[in-house]
């Protein structure tokens, strides 16, 4: 249907042709194109055909359009263009987005102040958390490290106690495993072990606690023992048991 075979584009006078057709060329350009028309039958043929098209459209216009009256354009002056423009602009999402970010100077200052307050609060919270975690870490270091050391140091101790003092088997049982890992000892909070540790603590409280001060750091080891005992505070029943254990030990020593 569409013919894109532009013969006159080849001769390079297409633009001159339309300018000439609509009378938009000066005298020099007119003369030049007319000279070209004499030698180019394609351009001459096309100019004639285009004139026919131009005439037909003009005929259509003069027959159907020129007889029409211009419609009365009614503009709603009651509302100012600015307010209407805002409502019409806000209909598009892009404009709405633009509105969102187009704050007044007061709005910007409020937003900045709010952000600053939020930042300060956030800073305080973060600082508080950091200091708390640092103190927790320090506490944990104070607690955990001695436990490991103490357990290493204390591991053979109950065995000595049981050997020397002939403590009952049920109390010395877990401590008879010298190869058990430290972590297991530190974490394990089973009542038997606890009792054993407590028993050893009680032993160390005795006047002749030579085993506990064997390493020459009795004060520290006592402290460590207390720290070991802290997380495994026995209930009242266990306390009674332990006192009973002490009683047995005392009886044994007396005997």
């Amino acid at each position: 249907m569409m013919n894109n075979n532009h013969k006159n584009s080849g001769c390079g006078f297409a633009e001159e042709l339309v300018s000439y057709l609509y009378g938009e060329t000066d005298a020099a350009a007119n003369a030049k194109f007319e000279a070209h028309l004499e030698s180019c039958s394609d351009c001459a043929d096309e100019l004639e055909a285009f004139s026919g098209v131009h005439f037909s459209i003009n005929d259509w216009k003069s027959t159907e359009f020129n007889v029409l009256e211009t419609p009365a354009i009614e503009i709603p002056y009651a509302t100012a263009p600015k307010t209407q423009a805002v409502s019409s602009v806000s209909s598009s999402w892009l404009s709405a987005l633009r509105d969102l970010f187009s704050l007044s100077p007061r709005g910007w200052s409020l937003a900045t102040a709010s952000l600053a307050v939020l930042a300060v609060i956030g800073g305080i919270v973060l600082f508080g958390l950091n200091s708390r975690t640092a103190s927790d870490l320090a506490e944990a270091n104070n607690k955990v490290l001695p436990i490991a050391v103490a357990t290493v140091e204390k591991t053979p101790e109950p065995a000595n106690v049981t050997k020397n003092n002939n403590a009952p088997d049920r109390e010395s049982k877990p401590l008879k495993e010298p190869n058990s890992p430290q972590s297991e000892l530190a974490v394990e909070t089973k009542s038997k072990n606890n009792r054993a540790v407590k028993a050893s603590n009680n032993q160390s409280k005795k006047p002749d606690n030579t085993n506990s001060t064997k390493n020459g750091d009795g004060k520290r080891s006592n402290k460590n023992e207390k720290e070991i005992a802290t997380p495994v505070i026995p209930d009242e029943d266990e306390d009674d048991t332990l006192r009973l254990a002490e009683l047995f030990e005392e009886i044994d020593t007396k005997e």
Binding site: A14, V53, P71, I73, I75
Partner: protein, 192 residues
């Protein structure tokens, strides 16, 4: 007083103090915008609606007019968009020859009273061919040929309005004429 002001001054006045100043712009451009709409849509009622909507849209968006282009160019662009929207909405009845024929004969064509019925029928058919040919052009070709033929704008004015290079406008007019020639040659027309 308003008549002595430029279009751009009238827009400024309409936005700031006097909305009625926009009425002067309407007076200046309504006929040309109506012609453009008629050439694009080929129907009086639709062209009238499109022209009305063009000016109302322009009035509502006056504060958004940045002054980078001429007011006339701005109005023309709004009008072209209105026409293209209307065409899409109505599925361009002129795309099918029969539809166009029906509408054209019933609503648009006004034959001169002194012509014989045969002559009237012949002219009606000829004009419907022209209308159909123009309507079948691609939008970018149709708008330049309508601006050229209906509004009688210069190539320079079309270039500024559509913000296209002058050579592009001439090339589009040339292509439009070439396509119209082919379409009209297929239906033998009697030149009056």
């Amino acid at each position: 007083m308003l008549k002595s002001l430029t279009d751009e001054q009238l827009v400024e006045l309409a936005v700031t103090d006097e909305p009625e100043a926009f009425g002067e712009i309407v007076k200046r451009w309504e006929r040309k915008i109506f012609a453009l709409c008629f050439g694009m849509l080929s129907r009086e009622d639709e062209a009238s609606d499109a022209a009305q909507e063009t000016f109302i849209s322009a009035y509502r968006n006056l504060p958004n007019f940045r002054g980078e282009a001429k007011v006339s160019s701005w109005l023309h662009r709004i009008a072209v968009n209105q026409c293209l929207t209307k065409q899409r909405r109505t599925k361009t009845r002129s795309e099918t020859f029969l539809d166009d024929e029906e509408n054209a004969e019933e609503k648009v064509f006004v034959a001169p009273l002194h012509q014989s019925p045969a002559r009237q029928a012949e002219q009606s058919e000829r004009l419907s061919h022209v209308r159909q040919a123009v309507n079948s052009l691609p939008a970018e070709l149709k708008q330049v040929i309508v601006m050229k033929e209906f509004e009688e704008m210069t190539f320079q004015e079309i270039s500024e309005t559509l913000q296209l290079p002058l050579s592009t406008v001439k090339s589009r007019v040339y292509t439009a004429l070439k396509q119209l020639r082919l379409k009209l040659e297929r239906t033998p027309l009697e030149v009056v």
